[in-house]
Structure formats: structure tokens, C-alpha cells
């Protein structure tokens, strides 16, 4: 992320406000932006959700197709997560093959839902070693005002909740709801001048020193974590973000 002159000025502005305990959009440090979730937004998908987190807007679509399991997990369906940071969403995104940033976003989203067992993949097995459901989770970012990690994670969880396995169309019996197991919710925080802010906006992300995403499940256990950016965290700061993730995750989960 190139930090040029404009960014320096922006940084000064943001930092000065933070000294006074204020974020540029008036939020408290530990306050999320307004969240709206609209499920079944895409009729051609087996499950879908359109999520707005402040001005960030993503559409998550879930598709299921028949395929073969991996050799080392013959009894499990296959989960594939893809995130497209398309140039529509921001002038900082470029077209073409996914860059490191898109890949990190996709992998962090994937890690949250995979390690948190959002979907019971064993229930997506049709014939062990032969045929399983391949589940594609596609994240389409339409408008990018920061914190894709959480917007997409929420979208994926919401889409799962309403998704239907299209067994009938594939000649595999009756349709049934996607077997949801947990709701691993991620929380992303950034550090700017030693302050920890949750749900960063695009401007906050651009000037942040470090970023930490922590995903937790219902019982408060941790299932995934990713630190990013050039800065560092202290151990206490890590523990603080973990606590915030537990607390805010519970709130978000209750609203899905």
C-alpha cells in the first residue's frame, strides 16, 4: 500500500483526532459501522447475501456442484473460497489476475469459515472417495470502504444460513439446507499510533501501522487469526483484540 504525501496528511489528520479519542466518522474506537445484511439476494446462487458495513458493500454467493473429494479427505465435501477485488469497488484495485492483497483476503475469509467449521463438510459427502459437493464461496466486492475481511465473513455466514443443497437438480434426492455447524465470526482491528480501532474504514486502513483479524466461534474459542501490515503488536494488544473479537462476534452472531 503506497504511502504518499496525501496519505501522510491524512495520517496526521486521523492521528490528531485519535489523540482526542475521536474517529473521523465519529465512531468510538471499539464501535462497528452500521451493518445491513440481505440474504437470498442472488437467485442463481444456492445461497447469497449482500452485506453493507458502512460504505463497504459485498455480495457473497454460494454455489454447489458435484465433484470428487480430495484424496486425503474422502468423506468430506470441498470448500473453495474466492474473493474478487474488482476495480469497480475502488480505484486502488486493478483488474487482471488476483494480486497478493486479493489472495490474502480470500485466504483469511476461507480460514475463518474452514477452521471454524461453519459448514459440516462431512455432510456434503455423497459417496466416500467418489462423489461429494464442491462448495464455492465467491466474494464479490462492489464498494470498498475498508474491512473486507469482516464484511465478507459476515456475508458468508449469512449466505450459509439460507443456502440450499441442490440435490434434486443433480438427481441426488431431495434438496436440503446447507448443514451449518458453527458461526465463526471475524473481527478486524487496526493499530494507529498505539490505538486499537475495530472495523477500520478505508482511510484508517491506509494509514494503519498494523492489522489483526481474529475469528471466534459460539463458545468463545479462537479458530483463525491473521496479522497484517508492516507494523507490530505487543502481546497485550493481541489479547485485547482477541477479547474484542469474542465480544463483538457474539453481537454480530446474534443478528444473523
Amino acid at each position: 500500500m503506497s504511502k504518499d504525501v496525501v496519505a501522510d496528511l491524512k495520517r496526521d489528520h486521523i492521528a490528531k483526532l485519535l489523540e482526542k479519542g475521536i474517529r473521523t466518522d465519529g465512531r468510538k474506537f471499539e464501535e462497528m459501522r452500521p451493518l445491513t445484511v440481505e440474504t437470498n439476494f442472488i437467485g442463481s446462487a444456492e445461497g447469497s447475501a449482500r452485506v453493507r458495513l458502512g460504505d463497504t458493500q459485498v455480495v457473497v454467493g454460494v454455489k454447489l456442484i458435484l465433484g470428487e473429494p480430495f484424496a486425503d479427505t474422502p468423506n468430506s465435501g470441498v470448500l473453495t473460497t474466492n474473493a474478487e477485488l474488482i476495480p469497480m469497488a475502488s480505484d486502488t484495485f486493478e483488474g487482471g489476475p488476483p494480486d497478493q492483497e486479493s489472495i490474502e483476503v480470500a485466504r483469511v475469509i476461507d480460514r475463518g469459515i474452514r477452521e471454524g467449521h461453519a459448514v459440516d463438510l462431512d455432510k456434503l459427502c455423497i459417496e466416500p472417495g467418489k462423489e461429494v459437493w464442491i462448495m464455492f464461496v465467491d466474494v464479490h466486492v462492489l464498494d470498498y470502504d475498508g474491512n473486507l475481511f469482516d464484511a465478507a465473513n459476515i456475508g458468508a455466514n449469512a449466505a450459509f444460513k439460507t443456502a440450499i443443497v441442490p440435490a434434486k437438480r443433480a438427481g441426488k434426492g431431495e434438496d436440503y439446507p446447507l448443514p451449518v455447524k458453527h458461526q465463526p465470526i471475524s473481527l478486524t482491528a487496526v493499530k494507529i499510533d498505539g490505538k486499537i480501532l475495530v472495523d477500520p474504514s478505508h482511510d484508517e486502513e491506509r494509514v494503519a501501522d498494523a492489522r489483526l483479524t481474529v475469528a471466534t466461534i459460539e463458545n468463545g474459542n479462537l479458530c483463525a487469526m491473521q496479522k497484517g501490515l508492516d507494523g507490530a503488536f505487543t502481546l497485550d494488544e493481541v489479547f485485547k483484540v482477541v477479547d474484542l473479537s469474542r465480544r463483538i462476534g457474539e453481537d454480530i452472531r446474534s443478528r444473523l
Binding site: F41, S44, D55, G61, I65, E84, P87, M88, D143
Partner: protein, 259 residues
Amino acid sequence: MGGTPTDLKLIDENGRRLDGRLPDEMRPLKIEAGVLSRADGSAYVEWGLNKVMAAVYGPRECHPRHLQNPERALVQCNYNMASFSVDDRKRPGPDRRSHEISKIISEALTHVVFTEYFPRTSIDVYIEVLQANAGTRCAGLTAASVALADAGVPMRDLVASCAAGKVADTVVVDLAKEEDNFGQADIPLGYVPRTGEIVLLQMDGDLTSDQFNKGISMAMEGCKKVYEVQRDALKRRYEVRSAGTELEVLGAAPAKEGM
């Protein structure tokens, strides 16, 4: 895949189409302008079961530089289908079809933009098809025009777009998915209502001369209806935006058009 051309009655005994429409009846169309925060202009279109988003960035510096035109702006459209927009998941990324559509939409839009005002720049138009149900290039071009206007890009007029086609030997307007899959011809049209110019035209299938003439007329009528919805969307947008600020959008002479 139960339905095959032979089982499927695309036009019933009352002359109604699968979804109950008459031959010259269009699907419901809703357009909303200014729906995205980051883009300079945007529009969202729901047209039947199509859901299409368009965004515009620019005029801005043109990359790579060797593409810059010293005399005018480049209008570069990128049409893309979301992987979940169709029943069988589409692999992400452009395919040959989307490259072709991007090219002809770019050309259609270039015709109406005052590109000579912005030499060396690029006006980038992104079209994302979120849900597809036949007619996405028309929906995309329609949305892109509105997004350009929303971005304040000076234009001679909006481009309106609509298709006609032939199903069960009947010429009809605005084909839906089954009609497109099992029909006999399709004629997507991009049209400039103010001048009567044709800026996008394709056709495939089988048409007699008369059928073609009838089809293109129907598509033109469709475009005129689309144009009204486009203008309504922009009006609503300006009403929201402007509490006393001046309107200046459709380049040439917007005042005359009452916008």
C-alpha cells in the same frame, strides 16, 4: 434440464409468452443511480431477473501510457459476470464472450461521450452482472450510460439498449432466458434516442428480411422505454443530490431536455 425446445411452448394459444408477456411487452425495469460510494458514478439495474451494477471512474490518467490518445479520452468498458450469476458456476475472470461485449459496449459509449474534452485520459466503465437472465449486455449498456451521467461525464445523449428476437416464429421484444436459450434469433440493440443512431447492433439466429425489420423496430421501441426509465433514475438522483446546486449533466444541452 427437463425443458427442451420441443416440450417448451414459448408462445401459448393466447399469444402469451412463458412469463405471461405479450410479444411487444418488456420485462419490469428498475434503475437506481448513485449507489456506490467509491466510484465517480454508478447505477444499479434490475431488469426482469437480471441484476447489474455499473460504475464509472474518470476521466483519469490513462494506464498504460502507450494507450493514451493525445486527442481524446478512451472509454474503456469492462463487462464481467460474477461467478454466481448463472446456474452453472462461471469461472472467475474474463472469457472470450465478455471480451467481445466489453469491446462493443466501449464503442457504443464512445460515440456519445465528448471524448475530445479530456485528451490523454481514460474513462473506465465497469459492469458487473450479479444475476443473469438474458439481455445482460443491454442491461449493462443501459446501466453504464446512467453511471456515466451520474459521474458527470459530458455526453451527447444517453445510450439506451434493448433486444428483440424471434421465438416460436414470432418476433418479440426483450427475450428472457428460456426464450434466449430455445428461441430462433436475438437482436441486441444500442440506440441513441435523440438522434435515432444505432451504436450497438448484433444478431444471431435465422430471420427473414421482414422479421429483421420488425425486430429492429421493436427493439427501438424498447430502447425508447428504457430511455425514460434511465432519465427518471437520473432525475431522482439529482433531486436527492441537489439542494440548490446546479444541474449540468448531459453535456450538450441538458436544459432543453428538461433534466
